[in-house]
Subunit: 153 residues, 2 copies
DNA sequence: TATTGTTATACTCTATAACTATA
DNA sequence: TATAGTTATAGAGTATAACAATA
């Protein structure tokens, strides 16, 4: 029984694409939030670690990417650093800059979480056949194209 | 120029369905969070108001639905009630129960936010043709079926 | 002067534990 | 006893404003 069934709150009938997108986003985020919490991470902390997986950005770049204030970033990095998940290192070439990188422990936990997320979403994705999965991915990517520096005008 | 382009953080190449789903969910949530903030609402407050749009649930039902503790619910309802967005009313038939309902002001704001969300997501959905939109909706609904009390075993 | 980052402060969100009132 | 809800407390996430150090 889901929490909704327990709560007696029913889904509405209005069901256009926007509603479906929003509901799917909440369902996906609920999975991510739950798995992050199982590893004592907030969703934001998990995002930070995930970004650091293959990058070592400046504090400012990290804040920009996440859409957060630099002061918020300081707090997030403080707490993650205190837990030994990441490290601050002097930014190359600029005496003011601070780069952020994963620690070994941080890299391990983000790998584990990544695997767990894939397992947790597998029951959903496996509702679709291989061709349908490709089609869904193509449709979503057209709506939400991956952002990259090369696409700058 | 997007914040990512400014930040110099590039998307990775690994791009299976799970990654696309997660990225799409974050992109969608970013839109919702931004629009909620423009109306001085947190995402959670917006969810509360959206649920109340066509329902008048108990405190407990609301907390269950959102996956929050009842004490958290008390705080959320406190702040929303203080702002005049909703009202507590005695629950029918149980002297302990409290039902929650939108105020007129709350109903107005949730309608406005709802419209704004549709407008904000329109550029994305309109990347797809009508048949593609139907296909995407069907695929997503198969992965994330709408929860309803009737589906209980 | 402008930029990078931190610190101080305040508010929201969240959970746990203890409590009151009702069932 | 069990359930519905609130209150007290604590910690995380967030923003704004003021600051220090570097460019």
């Amino acid at each position: 029984m889901t929490s909704q069934q327990a709560s007696g709150i029913a889904a509405t009938d209005s069901d256009d694409l926007v509603d479906t997108l929003v509901q799917s986003a909440f369902a996906t985020m609920a999975v991510l939030t739950r798995i992050a919490a199982e590893h004592d991470l907030s969703l934001t902390q998990l995002r930070v670690l995930a970004i650091l997986r293959d990058r070592r950005p400046r504090m400012t770049a990290l804040a920009d990417y996440l859409g957060l204030e630099k002061s918020t970033m300081s707090g997030l990095v403080d707490r993650a650093e205190r837990r030994g998940l990441l490290e601050r290192v002097p930014g190359a070439g600029d005496g003011r800059a601070v780069d952020v990188q994963l620690s070994t422990a941080g890299a391990e936990i983000v790998d584990r979480v990544h695997d767990t997320i894939r397992e947790a979403l597998a029951p959903m994705t496996s509702e679709l056949g291989p061709a349908e999965q490709r089609r869904l991915q193509n449709l979503l990517r057209r709506m939400f194209p991956p952002r990259s520096p090369e696409s700058a005008a």
